[in-house]
Symmetry: none
Subunit: 326 residues, 2 copies
DNA sequence: TCAGGACATTGACTTTTGTCAGCTATGATG
DNA sequence: CATCATAGCTGACAAAAGTCAATGTCCTGA
């Protein structure tokens, strides 16, 4: 199609509209054609690449990565903790970012579920003080001795204290010695009611645990290293609120899980805003399992972790957005 | 306060709107804020350079006259600002075209030299925002009080700011009161090093100054009208980066030039892409001198100026392409 | 602690843009 | 020379975006 005179007018229209910021009717007047035609020319100019609209990739690379991850995984919101050259350690920065994001996700009168782990403890530790009267913080899983500073109940209490919110603890051990006892305890009205209200939460905060020898559950003595190994070979991939999940993020029907006093995974998934924070790059596989299991709507990770997830999603063809992007 | 939480939401809005093509109300719904806010965020995203809208400037280079001028003069590339009824005021349009072309000539990691003058100031003033981290903008000539809005250093800084590039200023006066002082200052390591890097630039931007009473140098007080007259009768034809050149575009061995703190003309000529922008038709003779001196590889002029150059080249038999053209 | 200011956010309203059926000019064809 | 096809253009209406005064929120400093 050698008709260049046509392209010329498109170029002119695009220039006047986009570069000079004229309105379509002004452009139409100047070029002495109808505004409808200008609208059409402009569309063609965009299609032909005479004008290009790009979101900045260099300057906001972390934001771009976050958006791409959201697009690929369908997560509501992703925050990337930058791995700045000279900036501080990303792992150290993360709890601060997580705490402030967490705070912003809270609405008046919300009920918030908090699980436990090293990460959650660190977040509690840097949680800013706020006046969130009317908010309730509930403990998502039973108690256990701590290799770190806080026990689960103390963690919940600390967060509640800083937010000026009400803290509700789950007064039960995380793991019982028999399934029967766990079952009976779960039937106790006080406990049952508390576990039942978990799905009413508007927001949950947790991390995902690994299944290595140095994992949280092992360190706390909830599970021996040998048992953990065994579970690993049976397909366990990570830990959510004290419970083992498989590679697809499904609850595993195993002794440990049956003896566990913790939020039902279905209840957790029912919470609208599920904020998952992962500090260590070594937790990649557990994180993948947690994401596949639908345990996150809001994710906070390092840039490198984000890239790995993105890679995985793309290679496995899980990318929800396989079609056009910039 | 979360780091850049504001920018995050702006980036997200821009991403959904521009990259995904969602409507503002859809974005608003997704981010759970009002559509009015989205409209505001999007405006800021454009202002901040989070999204960039660029228009092709083919309109100005795709022109018979431009081709002829390139052929005749051996210039790499010529852009013609038309003077027809449909176009904007050519004098006002030129800085816009120049800024757009300039932007297109920049590559990743480039070092760019910027001189000073009314034209360059106007270009800086309409320079679009862009995402050019890694680019360095260096000041080609020393500083001087400004009859216009910017001093040379501010001009460099402004361009760097809009491009998100690094700006490097030359902290020295444009003209010193004695040759000895100028010489000594040029030997100062800081200054010397900076002047030495100028030939490493990949791109330079400047205009050419006239030698009339209302010329830039005279208005700024760098040279009295009488001195300028005297230089004119000694053969001065124009001004490049604060320095007088003769009719052949050669550096003039005169007091002013020796007292001048500016890029060595040889260094400027060593820059591969030398973008010369001339707005006023009255600058015809200075422009001819600049072209003869090899100060341009890329030229932006009005159509009438282009025709005058072409005439001159042909009457003087300088046309490189006297034989048949395709 | 509270008044006051700065700034973000919103709903309601206005302006601008997108769309499409139908009109017009052109030119190719039988 | 009439007819048809085609592409381009337009008017009128619907949809979307822009704007602004009013309101809400947060912070500062007395």
């Amino acid at each position: 199609m050698p008709i260049r005179s046509n392209d010329q007018i498109i170029h002119k229209a695009a220039w006047l509209y986009y570069t000079h910021g004229m309105r379509q009717d002004e452009v139409a007047q100047r070029l002495e054609i109808s505004r409808a035609s200008i609208a059409m020319y402009l569309r063609r100019a965009r299609e032909m690449g005479i004008v290009t609209i790009t979101t900045s990739n260099e300057l906001f690379s972390d934001d771009v990565l976050a958006r791409e991850l959201e697009d690929a995984t369908g997560l509501t919101s992703v925050w990337i903790v930058p791995e700045d050259r000279q900036a501080m350690d990303p792992a150290a920065e993360m709890p601060v970012v997580a705490a402030s994001v967490f705070l912003e996700l809270i609405n008046k009168g919300d009920r918030i579920g908090v699980a436990w782990g090293r990460t959650v403890y660190h977040i509690a530790d840097v949680m800013p003080f706020a006046d969130l009267r009317g908010v309730t913080v509930v403990q998502l899983c039973g108690n256990l001795g701590a290799p770190y500073s806080y026990r689960p109940d103390q963690c919940t209490t600390e967060i509640a204290r800083r937010l000026n919110a009400e803290g509700i603890n789950l007064y039960a051990p995380l793991v019982l010695s028999s399934e029967r006892l766990a079952e009976e305890l779960r039937s106790e009205p006080v406990i049952r009611e508390q576990l039942a209200t978990i799905s009413d939460c508007q927001l949950a905060l947790y991390s995902v645990g690994g299944i290595e020898d140095d994992s949280h559950l092992v360190k706390c003595g909830a599970l021996s290293a040998a048992e953990m190994h065994a579970m690993g070979s049976k397909g366990a991939a990570g830990v959510i609120a004290g419970q083992l999940i498989d590679r697809d993020g499904q609850w595993m029907d195993c002794g440990h899980n049956r003896r566990c006093m913790s939020a039902d995974l279905g209840s957790i998934r029912a919470i609208k805003k599920r904020m998952l924070v992962v500090q260590e790059d070594s937790k990649f596989e557990p994180l993948v399992a947690a994401l596949k299991g639908g345990f996150a709507s809001h994710l906070i990770v390092t840039a490198s972790m984000a890239r790995r997830i993105l890679d995985r999603w793309r290679t496995e063809g899980l990318d929800r957005n396989s079609s056009g992007k910039t």
